[in-house]
Amino acid sequence: MKQIYLDHHATTPLDKEVLDAMIPTFMQDFGNPSSNTHEYGHRARYLVDNARKQVAQLIGAKNPDDIIFTSGATESNNLSIKGCAQAKMTQSHKNIVTIAIEHKAVLDPLKRLRKEGVNTRFAKLDSYGVVDLDDLASKIDKNTILISIQAANSEIGTLQPIRDIGIIAREHGVPFHTDAVQALGKIEIDVERDFIDLLSISAHKMYGPKGIGALYVRRGIKLVPLLEGGGHERGMRSGTLNVPGIVGLGKAAEIARRDRESFVAFLLSLRRKLADGISRIDDVILNGHPVRRLPNNLNYAFSYVEGESLILACRGVALSSGSACTSTSLQSSYVLKALNIPDFLAHCSIRFGLGKSNTEEQIDVVLDMLEKGVKKLRSMSPLYDMAKEGIDVEHVKWSNEHKRVR
């Protein structure tokens, strides 16, 4: 398996430094931090406290105890949203304000809450996926219990104006949760400066281990725990602490903070090369914002070429697409849909997620494959022929709606 990995939004490999920090916790410093009668327990507690500080520093949290370790951002998001709703059990007509391009780990809990009478209000987005602040403010009322808006989108990389949202939230006295999973280590986030009350972190998106994440919970924010049993983590999240994971997350956070500037510069230079190369292919459309986007993200619709077939043409390159044909649900990307990008183009879309291990040479290889692949696939595409004849393929009346499953 010598693939070129361009799917760093899905997950990242461990940083060597992170692995080195974790190794001693498996067989030597293996204690349970809750064991308070011996050295093993004490050592584990020390390691956890240290990691808590590292994570707090990454996001500018003043008090390390405001960091709650979880099993990942899915849990952090669920805890924020459900925990907040349950804490206001007696209040009626509750609503939560969010945007339609949140990760499923925000949208699915919100869907669950709707069954329990908590409404979801979607603030408007522009065609790049940036939230409309005026519309956001207008959606907030006295029954709004939470605003949940991501820092960066995992498909199109669009960045949200987090601090502006924080200000609006604070003005309205509503807690502000942000899913910062994709942004951390690439965008500077400071919970104080940005008025963030709850912030979700996942280690495996920033060169740390899978199965560990954190939730920043500002003092005074009340959450009903999802996982109970012993009252770990200030009573908000019980369960034996995942010491190796926590140590790994701590180290990953330290590196993310330490190396952010040089890492971003590296990503931007690789991305420029990739974007320049792709711009030589005609009929290619950029999804998402031209500037306000993650430095490691590009997302293009290669018109008239179905995404999966193009990924197949880039054999040996790990890519992901907005095409239904790569999803088991047979639905094209809901993120692209939410931006009113036509289904046809969603099926033609490919996400590029750059990361630490990528090189200029790899970009050259990928560009070569893309150019050849697009050319070959368009030579087979009836839509390309039609387009060249001047027909607008999107607005043709297609003879039959193809049945997806039989």
């Binding site: 077939s309 197949l312 044909c325 289904d343 046809f344 595409s381 009836p382 393929v393 039959n400 039989r406």
Partner: protein, 128 residues
């Protein structure tokens, strides 16, 4: 499913070296099925002489499985009588490819539909 691991060698071969790409010169049957909004469109052109499909070519917008089934169906119908081609099932095309991943079965339906549409077109023209 993993698009590389779940495709058979035959599917990948037909995707990488598709047979009969293009438009048949002097075609007397054309079928276009699918919808770009659903992610696949297939155009099948055939030339029928004396009740026999003497040539067939395709153009397809779609995933690897859609391209491979398109390619395979053109191979399978060439030389067949129209009546024989009409009973060619999507299952037969899949079998010829060594099978398709479950979530890709609908692609073989596309090929069957395109074939039926092209033959329909030929028949309605030949009736006139």
């Amino acid at each position: 499913m993993d698009i590389w691991e779940e495709y058979t060698e035959k599917v990948l071969d037909h995707y990488e070296n598709p047979r009969n790409v293009g438009i048949v010169q002097g075609a007397n049957g054309v079928g276009v099925v699918g919808n770009p909004a659903c992610g696949d469109v297939m155009k099948l052109t055939i030339r029928v002489e004396k009740g026999v499909i003497v040539d067939a070519k395709f153009k397809t917008f779609g995933c690897g499985a859609a391209i491979a089934t398109s390619s395979m169906v053109t191979e399978m119908v060439k030389g067949k009588k129209v009546e024989e081609a009409l009973v060619l099932s999507n299952k037969a095309v899949m079998d010829a490819l060594g099978g398709l991943p479950k979530v890709k079965r609908h692609c073989s339906v596309l090929a069957e539909d395109a074939l039926k549409a092209a033959i329909d077109d030929y028949m309605s023209k030949s009736k006139k």
